[in-house]
Symmetry: C2
Subunit: 361 residues, 2 copies
Amino acid sequence: MNRIYNFAAGPATMPEAVLERAKNEMLCHGTDGMSVMEMSHRSKMYLAIYDKAVALLKELMEIPDNYKILFLQGGASTQFASIPLNLMTVNNKADYIDSGNFAAKAISEAKRYGKVNVVGSTKDIAYARIPVIDESKFDPEADYLHFTTNNTIFGTHFNQVPKTKAPLVTDMSSSILSRRYNVNDYALIYAGAQKNLGPAGLTVVIIRDDMLERTPMEFTPTMLKYKTMADNDSMYNTPPTYGIYIAMLVFEWIKELGGVDAIEKLNNEKAALLYNYLDSQSYYTAPVEKDSRSMMNVTFVTGDQDLDKKFVSEAAKAGIVNIAGHRIVGGMRASIYNAMPKAGVEALVSFMDDFAKKNPK
Amino acid sequence: MNRIYNFAAGPATMPEAVLERAKNEMLCHGTDGMSVMEMSHRSKMYLAIYDKAVALLKELMEIPDNYKILFLQGGASTQFASIPLNLMTVNNKADYIDSGNFAAKAISEAKRYGKVNVVGSTKDIAYARIPVIDESKFDPEADYLHFTTNNTIFGTHFNQVPKTKAPLVTDMSSSILSRRYNVNDYALIYAGAQKNLGPAGLTVVIIRDDMLERTPMEFTPTMLKYKTMADNDSMYNTPPTYGIYIAMLVFEWIKELGGVDAIEKLNNEKAALLYNYLDSQSYYTAPVEKDSRSMMNVTFVTGDQDLDKKFVSEAAKAGIVNIAGHRIVGGMRASIYNAMPKAGVEALVSFMDDFAKKNPK
């Protein structure tokens, strides 16, 4: 076994301790006589795992009692439809912030179901920062305001929560559990699992009770109705049982490390290693403005596309993989989620410095 | 490790060889330096797994070139909506056969989107057989006919394919790959993975090209559009990568056993063990009519609810678990999917005989 440093944006590297545990329990979970993958979702042995996943997430994120935690299928892209279908139903209008590619996807899906008011966009500057919001642009009748807490592709993060009277709905896929968020600020938080929570194919939705009282649009598929899922504890149909189990192991791992505050401290240190290096030299440029920087996805370029390609390919040979930027932006991106060890970031910085010396511009 | 015989209806027992392989590859897949769970879905290493899954399923089921194989999220329940949303769009009418609980769920979801013509139902006899279809009931303008090949809860199976001019759409969740089916008979086959294919959270859709040309209803969520998924090789968003990998291992396992014909022979032997025993005695009754019997789910009762409960609880003590019938029907149900070894069925029959002797009525 020779594990390498995987800087992929998602699916992404997992905590080795979690994989070890999954490995050891693959054929037989405890004294249950079977793999978690084989458990009936309605069996006592599985419900113990499920309940633990819910309880741990509630504890780690300090989720108040007036929120429901749902474990759903379909990815954040399905939520782009579910959100307007379920929530854009009071005035059929919503405010959206366009801070990146996935934000834009959420907007284009929402436009199919109602009136979308884009209250801010940084598309014209290649999403190099979080939009500054002119509060006068808010629609006072908006059913909610949607934004993307962390923009995976561009490496930006909302370091301040937008201030609006509308209920806040946020895509937290690439930063959930990476730092402290105040759940009370939000009416709905959703996150695809494949960055900070577990395997692809699972989406966590944290929804405030009053949002469950809105009547979904008439043609909403039953499986996309939050109320149906909440009333059935995410078991209206068979949930992605194994993914939920892995997420539970990830939650346990975070708790053992000391919880979200401890993880945030580690993440700060990892991000500082990279950003301090980037700020200390001129070979690489970090395109994101400082006050919008993400702790999870760090983007940089050499300014020369051929050199960027060489960087990506030589890094791979040095055991630093999936460091290429997203295909729509190019350059490099280091995704340094919770599970990326500090040693991985150190190895990357050291490789960057070495590469700069060996490849003068 | 002490694995027990798990007769759950789904999620269900998995081939031990598949779990062994998943275990061995959990931290590091081959020389890839990472777990399959950690691979970017667009990386070469993952695409090799994905392509293998598609190729193996195509080979095993002899899927013709004019069909697309999709690996989707959301379960069969999501398909209950996707099917009318995508296909009930020519005349906005479809024929449905009501052969069980999931068939009825598919019907109620479809009714939300168009005119459903129920061409046969055995609800009045507790779904004890597959409905006999009066062909004069078919709507000549039906956009498709939907039926459930194998009815997991009641233990029935369509041993003949309905004869209609409408394109056939079938839920094959609990019998796909258990026996030979002629894919050419169908316009669309779908199957939740958690019975015969792999972990919950993955649904296989096999769709004929002409079905992809139908225009979905205007309000169809993008993630539920078959054409979008087909055009993007199921990677419009991040697919359930780990589930697809496990399914690929299951396909390899079936191929190594000799393919679908070999599995069918084994399944026939296993089912015969149980049904021959049931037919040879009078302590247990098998409620399903003989020509509708499923090879995958075998239902039986003692005729005394207390004895049924005792059976389930004593069986569990003997290492035979999840043998209780579905909560809406009671009694017992043995799900004997591909992965259930013959020794498990032998153990069950032996336990049944023993129980009958020790608990005279």
